[in-house]
Assembly symmetry: C2
Homo-oligomer: 421 residues x 2
């Protein structure tokens, strides 16, 4: 039987889950997969984690050199997070001829080219299913199941923390602040929630996913990013009146005019599949020219779902031992053309003083630039709320029109949110 | 660059789609996959199909021997359907050292063991992603993405024809007969719709899927099967009143007491993800102990979606050339234990004559055997409809109780439908 030695760098939530699955299912993997998998080495500074998992002392490495020089180690699992040490350790492992499995989306999004070149040069594998949408097998689907397709779009709910917060705001009428606090108490959001709520996490993921989908390296510098921190109860309420719910989406489109990738709060129709994806669940919709629309739904984060993806990569690496790298050419990445002015419908929420005559001019201004599909005017808390839902329009044209609206007296543009029908 | 020669047996809807994708994307596959794929041989009696696709005469084989003795052919794609010739041809290809890709669910479900043994013996691959749920990559997900899980259940909408018919009956209030006719006109149902509407197609698929999920060969003889031909408008109507829609589900569960696999019309909650899967779309829900719940949605049939799955297998075979077979041991299949008496909630529709005093006894009979969760009595078209929704109960106990109800005078048990909450 084929033996497979594994090293785990970092025993946090994902690392512990990976250790548990690999050790508790050793006999099962022998029978079902024909692989005798052993965790040969771990690297972790926090001793209590090592004790909790009951790992033998001789398996605890002192440093990365000890791990990568261990002849029994075939696959190095990097689940530490962060970029500085992770990058150094991953490159060190690849250069030592070890195949690497990682859950580190920031690392992949930022240093993919360098890592891929090293893996190619050393003829070893680099796997990262766990880096995007945790337990949902979207990366393997893109690489191994949709080859007969030109993929034109990939989009969805790819951050569980923000989806949890938005679900609470939508279903229970909570404020952003109160929903965030609850998410933090339950462990769905970190003490410093910036990476999630400002859309960085989703940006790394959609960078990876759209690169694979379109066979072009989509760099994070070219992704429009906006988080959910500016969303108010009124946005949720008026979106609801118009038949929509608000979700943070990652959106990637491959158009004739170029690649368009963005992360922002988005109005989606109430009866759409994405609207039904609640709490910490994620969902990714992929559109290919042969297969049409495929949607994958599941838990995008958490210890065991992410560890499940890590283990699937470890076993895939063990069974398919040939050279394995990403199916797009890194060198070609420089030539990617990006859409500079995307189009969308827009939801615009304006607050005006009651009786403000300038508010009557809003529609006139829009008339000259952007077609209004629907408008709501409602007196609320001594203010006049003006909600504009536009037809499809260019981003630049819309923002230009809004500048003119902002110049009117006695009103403020409170929010502008994009709409995907 | 690695060359890959392909033969296609059968140029019907799936075969034509496969031919088109492989030939039209030849350069794309070279760039992206690093494979130079050529269709070297086709086998098809209908000459007009060959002409329509513009296939060169020298590539048209006279018989299967010519195909399998062609040294340029590495992968044989069987997309003829049926079992007799398909089985002979597939075994012949495997025995000649060719890897086989098939979309033939009946063939896989019925002759898997023999095919797998032959593939193992000759050390070639046998791939069948397209056999179950067309373009939705559920087989690759089970084999390559969920290895770190013990899967406890796999279930879903796995037949597009019946889902199209049921959607029409539910959303438009059509009768079964009228919805079937419409499906036939649009090409969603065949002239002889038996395989779809009586649940055979779904049975083959759930046999394959639950075998892979549970690592045990689930034979079709042990699958409870019931089609949708007995469903009436009243079933849809009362299910709706109780908060449910009716879907034809394939259900596989791996329990401590054994494996339980069945295909039948099922009441699912209106707000469930499955209820939202409409028309010819399919959806499969998989539950694993690490990852939790994953749902895959997409087109389960049709020329291009199924061809997309065939092509993904051809390319997978070309890139991962090592020996490849199913991850369960055929010999162990004999030991599979099946659940003989499953449990479920039940929806029971009874029609009684108005003023029939025996109808009052229905509840008393249930009281002695099966707990009623809800009962509806409604006068309708000069009849009294009695709808019973039970608590979870054993199948045998429920059927025994119903026998007693049937013995009452002046009423008929019109339908009994299982419920999955």
């Amino acid at each position: 039987m084929k033996k497979l030695g594994v090293a785990i760098l970092g025993l946090g939530v994902v690392g512990s889950g990976t250790y548990k699955i690999l050790t508790e299912n050793k006999e099962y993997f022998k029978t079902v997969e024909g692989l005798d998998i052993t965790v040969e080495s771990v690297l972790e500074i926090n001793k209590s984690r090592i004790e909790e998992l009951g790992i033998e002392k001789e398996k605890v490495a002192k440093n990365i050199q000890e791990v990568v020089s261990n002849r029994n180690v075939d696959v190095v699992v990097e689940v530490m997070g962060g970029v500085t040490f992770a990058k150094e350790f991953v490159l060190s492992a690849l250069n030592s001829g070890k195949t690497v499995v990682t859950s580190n989306k920031e690392l992949v999004a930022k240093h993919w080219s360098e890592i891929e070149k090293t893996a190619k040069k050393k003829n070893v594998g680099f796997f990262y299913e766990a880096s995007s949408v945790g337990g949902v097998p979207v990366i393997r689907t893109l690489i191994e199941s949709m080859q007969g397709n030109h993929i034109t779009s990939i989009s969805g709910i790819i951050n569980g923390t923000t989806n949890y917060i938005l679900t609470k705001m939508t279903d229970n009428g909570e404020s952003y602040e109160s929903a965030l606090l609850e998410a933090q108490k339950l462990g769905f959001a970190e003490a410093n929630p910036t990476a999630d709520v400002e859309g960085f996490d989703a940006m790394y993921k959609i960078s990876i996913l759209s690169s694979l989908a379109f066979n072009k390296k989509v760099s994070i510098e070219n992704i429009y990013r906006e988080g959910i921190t500016n969303l108010k109860e009124k946005d949720i309420k008026y979106a609801d009146e118009l038949g929509y719910v608000i979700k943070l989406l990652g959106i990637g489109k491959d158009k004739e005019t170029g690649v368009e990738v963005r992360v922002h709060p988005t109005l989606v129709k109430k009866d759409s599949a994405l609207a039904g994806v609640k709490g910490s669940f994620n969902a990714v919709k992929i559109v290919g020219d042969s297969v049409g629309e495929i949607t994958l739904t599941g838990r995008g984060a958490g210890s065991m779902p992410t560890a499940s993806a890590v283990v699937s990569d470890v076993i895939f690496a063990g069974k398919h031992s040939e050279f394995y790298y990403q199916p797009f050419n890194v060198e070609k990445s420089k030539e990617v053309k990006y859409v500079s002015d995307f189009t969308s419908k827009y939801f615009i929420r304006i607050e005006s003083e009651l009786g403000n005559k300038d508010a009557l001019k809003i529609e006139k201004i829009f008339d000259k630039g952007v077609v209004i599909e629907k408008i709501i005017k409602e007196e609320n808390d001594g203010k006049l709320d003006v909600i504009v839902l536009t037809n499809v329009a260019g981003e630049k044209q819309t923002l230009k029109t809004l500048e003119k609206v902002k110049a009117l007296k006695g009103l403020t543009v409170e929010n502008i949110i994009r709409v995907e029908d």
